[in-house]
Amino acid sequence: MRMIWNEMKKILTWRMLTFLLLVNAVLYFLLISFDIEYFPNGRPALDGYRLGIEMIEEYGVQMDEEEMLDFRRQFESRKEEANEYLQAHPEFAEAGIDDYEELVTSVWDNEERQNLHSQIMHEQQIDLFWELQERSRLIDFHDTKEMIGFEPNTLQQTRFDELLNEGKYQAYPEVVIQNFKEFIVNVGITILFSVVLLISPFILKDRTRRLLDLQYTSKIGRSLYKTKLIAGILSAGLVITVLLAFYFSLYAQNGTSPYFGLGVNAFIANLTWYDPTFLQYIWLCILAIYVIGLIFTMLAMSVSSVVPNFVTLIGIQIPLIFVMLLMGFNILLSHIISVQSPQWLVPGLYGLLGIVSVGLLIYLMRRENFRDISE
């Protein structure tokens, strides 16, 4: 333990931690802060968020047909309130708007009506009309619940039908899960940069500073390499944990806990191969971040074990990180159980990355035992 801790102290130096703090501050303001500060992002996102909570409180985490009928009744009743509002304001009658239906259907071909609509929605921001718009959208979506928004293949269609047969159709506003997906990808990017920057120089430094001669002729010998790998993984795990704790404490401000019990398939436009709750999906994403972080930690240590200098160390890792940013995070994190990817793809990719990174380390550990330390 003392040796692991000694190696960890070489990784988690004050200088490195300060550097990570700076990197995280920059990436937080560039990537993450928007999903925290602007949630829900304007309207109708705010109304979707509120309505979703109301629906969960009233109908629970799944809506059956009877509850959907009640939802429609409430829509009608709220429409009556809107009609009363419109009739109480003579300027609407003067413009030929007698009820809510007329407001939303005949507004676009008349400038006066457009101005009145804009006044209600954007200037006065009357909640009732925003809520009605969102309720209407959800009802429309429910009416077309047997249609998929994309051209499905057989497996996707089977999964869709399976959920439909179980009565698990998409009924709740998607604002919360969309926000979480954007948030978690940005957190993933920030954590990936943090661990790669933290771990990359670690093994190379000892090599280029000619420390191996003394380390490998001591009692512990070449098994110190294994100790270094363990220290690297533990340090990366520690940094990932601290960063996740920090970013999720910020995410807590978004107030999405009422949605935690909702199945992810209950959100609109979120068809998935499996049916965890939103909270379970969050845990799954956290686990995925640990796995991605540790895979890249192992890759960084492998590269650090063989390259001759820092320039090569960075040069080799740039394409890997670029591919991750370009598509890796979408597939491996935000769409981790989405039907948009074949069901085997995500576990297959995790398996492949895991085998490659662990395999490389095992190979390098064996190589370290038998190589000449001549540099």
Binding site: R2, M3, N6, K10, T13, D206, R209, R210, L211, L212, D213, L214, Q215, Y216, T217, S218, K219, I220, G221, L224, F370, D372, I373, S374
Partner: protein, 292 residues
């Protein structure tokens, strides 16, 4: 104690050492050869950093590679170039290395203080090493090699960066240490070991040239080392006919020390051969710049 048994080391097509056969007992051995002769390769094989291409190194009859940590815990090693953490103090650095050597912190602390005092770094044991001179860093290196009270102490060019006073102190330290353990000092500086080594090992053409006492090795040039004086103008033709060991100017004349194995001239003064004479004679191609 330590036996190098028919050891060869090759790097691809290049042979660094060929069929080396050596035996070491308690005492001080000086490994003397010019740079590039294979001293560091041999030292690194004794320290388990390099694996022999052929042959084996045995400690009390056991292969040192198979002995693994049991061998390394007997070993103290100072490499020719060694790394350190610039932001560590000598005390922190030695604590780090003592953990690698399997010495508990409680046991290591008094030992570290004692060793740093011994190498005259007691006053700066808590100062960061980034401010240290080359000589100070080298002394930290010497201290670390002694941390585990090794039975086998291997030092590769240990006096690099040390001033004459430090060298003298270091020689005394080595003499003390060699009373109860095997000490192998690799160097190309003859004066570092001439007066203290029990035996000198010289490597030439990838093989052992000599492994003997200073007296015996010097005896190989008995009656062949002379000094004479001449005018400066005669020096060039003299150089071409004899192997010159040294030249110096005195009272307007050139005094030269040289080797001649045939009948000497009358005015040549025979002198007692020194280890440096043997070194310069045996490695005359290398020292003349034709070798490395």
């Amino acid at each position: 104690m330590l036996v190098v048994k028919e050891v060869s080391k090759q790097y691809g097509d290049f042979t660094a050492l060929r069929d080396i056969q050596l035996e070491f007992e308690t005492g001080l051995y000086g490994l003397l050869a010019p740079n590039g002769a294979g001293k560091t390769t041999l030292i690194k094989m004794l320290a388990t950093l390099l694996y022999p291409t052929k042959g084996e190194v045995l400690y009390n009859g056991n292969n040192i590679i198979d002995m693994d940590s049991c061998y390394r815990e007997l070993l103290g090693y100072l490499p020719q170039h060694f790394g350190y953490y610039k932001n560590y103090s000598p005390k922190q650095y030695l604590l780090y290395l003592s953990a690698l050597k399997g010495i508990s912190k409680k046991e290591a602390l008094p030992k570290i203080i004692e060793l740093l005092d011994k190498v005259a770094l007691g006053d700066v044991m808590n100062k960061k090493m980034k401010k240290f001179s080359g000589g100070m860093v080298q002394r930290v290196g010497i201290a670390q090699a002694l941390l585990n009270d090794p039975k086998i102490l291997i030092l590769d060019e240990p006096t690099a960066g040390l001033d004459p006073k430090e060298r003298a102190r270091f020689r005394n330290l080595l003499t003390d240490l060699a009373r109860s353990r095997l000490v192998i000092v690799s160097t190309h500086i003859v004066s570092d070991i001439e007066s203290i080594a029990n035996e000198i090992i010289m490597i030439k053409n990838q093989q052992i040239l000599y492994k003997d006492s200073v007296e015996t090795i010097c005896g190989t040039l008995d009656g062949a080392v002379f000094e004479t004086s001449m005018e400066f103008e005669q020096l060039e033709s003299f150089r071409q006919n004899y192997v010159l060991l040294s030249e110096k100017q005195e009272y307007g004349k050139m005094i030269v020390r040289f080797i001649h194995k045939e009948t000497p001239l009358v005015d040549w003064l025979p002198v007692q051969p020194q280890l440096e004479d043997v070194f310069l004679y045996e490695y005359r191609d290398e020292t003349n710049g034709t070798g490395q």
